[in-house]
Amino acid sequence: MLAVRPGVPQPEDTVQFRVSMEMTKVDIKNYLEKIYNVPVAAVRTRIQYGANNKKNHKNQRVKKPDYKVAYVQLGKGQTFQFPNLFPEKEQDEEARSFDDFRKKYLEKEQQIQKGDPRRGGVPDWFGL
């Protein structure tokens, strides 16, 4: 049982899980209610077929595994929003100044690559 971020936007009371192929809707409902104390109003499941089109270096078909997806609607008016697992981190003073320094260095390198601005983009080897 793995809670996943839905690929398509789901209503607020719906949580999406990837579960084992042998689990049923009743199993999922009991699991969540008894182990995690989550009130479950309805469960719908489907089996996602894993494609068998890719080929490896030996030209054999490689199958992606099938998995079961469960959409659980929470009861008692509860809602769930999948959290952002990789938020933007607050940079401290040292990291920020190092970033600025690195940015300036890279800009200077790019300027040198371009060449003398007075030549208007004409390459160095062009001339008498």
Partner: protein, 485 residues
Amino acid sequence: MRRPCAVLPGGPRRASREGRSLRFPAALCWGARRLEGCPGHVAPGAQPRRAAPAPRPCPAPRRCEMAAPGGCRLLRLGRRWFSQEPAVPPPPGPLYPPVVASHTARSKAARRRRLEHFHRQVHEAASIEEKLRLYGKLQRPKYTVHPQTFALNADRWYRSFTRTVFVPGLPPPAEAAEEPGPAAGAAPDADLDLGALRSLACDALLQESFYQNKRRPFLYRDQDHTPGPFLTQLVSSLAASLCGRNPLLAASSLDLNPEVNYYWHHGEEVVVHGHRKGRVDPVRFQIDDKPHLQLRVPKQLPEIVPLESDLGDVPVIDHKPSKLPLFKKQYENKVFIGSKVADPCCYGHTQFHLIPDKLKRERFEIANLEDQIEVVYRANGVASLFAWTAAQAMYQGFWNEADVTRPFVSQAVVTDGKYFAFFCFQLNTLALTVETVKNNPRKNICWGTDSKPLYDVVEEGSVKGFNDEVLLQLVRFLLNRPKEL
């Protein structure tokens, strides 16, 4: 063999430009061979062959620059090549057809033109049947909306699909509002013989559940076993006894297990799979409802509030309807009120719905979903009444491009045999498509109550805890009639 040669009738021979001596009209040449020395011969495709009439002076001797030699000669043979009649004045109006977008191109202008053509076709349809046929001609996958559904919070979704505002409680009776005198307000209720009506209801209930010996019901057929026949008996006997007080009931038609269908568009989506992938399509819905009983009348019920009233907000749901869950299927786009268009009883009065076994109260209580019990009643009321009133409006010729000019009102009673919930629906607008809903301030309104029990229990030949309020509300529903009657 000598080739045929025609001597030109009349007129002296004129010297041709090439100076040949033999004049040979092209009409007498045969074969495609070019005949040498034949100035009059022209290749068959170059000029149409005509018989040579009396010769005339060539009207434009130096102007005809034809490829074939002697071609001018043919013209000089008298054929007119410009009209010599007096000039006709040009016809009034534009000379050229109107400049419009293409009909078949893959462009937005072409799509708009095709839509306008379709709208014009439906507007100009000769009869209502033709209009309905054209409206539902194109079949595409559509969401089937079931009024009786186990989906959670279905009534909120259904209200967003049908642009309906839900007002808890029933509207105040119109007579009490208009005539504030106490005698006038109490008159309709005071004359009722509540005892007789109560005995009718109790008789029906006892007959079905106590006196009649029935076998045990089959699995999931409980509702057809007792509450179904009880409801039919109750409504028919009450309607028959109240005919004297309400002449509309005498002219009404009571349908048993009728069918009510409605098809409409609301919102837009992008097609995901298939050969039409990427196109923007309207979202199509279809309701196929089978109420237990239905009363249809020849005159329409009066409006409860004015057409443009705003009594609340319509819930807006951004998600696709398939998240409800709602499923798509493609089949006939039917619009039907329970009888065909020619039937005189074309307006709706009251519908009676029976909750099926899968949606009984006990099942929700076992599953800890008490709050969803009322949702079932509300969703049933909103969806069924919207379908019925909208189909009635379509029977009168209105559709989403020609919005209703008067509100359509109908009532419904949703019950599971013991608990009764009453609903009242006023259809103010049919315009739910993307273009028509943009500037449409009107909303449909649904009033509804919570479910209340009619009785507590039936034991040993008597009904315990009979609730007169519910019976009174049912009787008031049946006595509802337009003001003229």
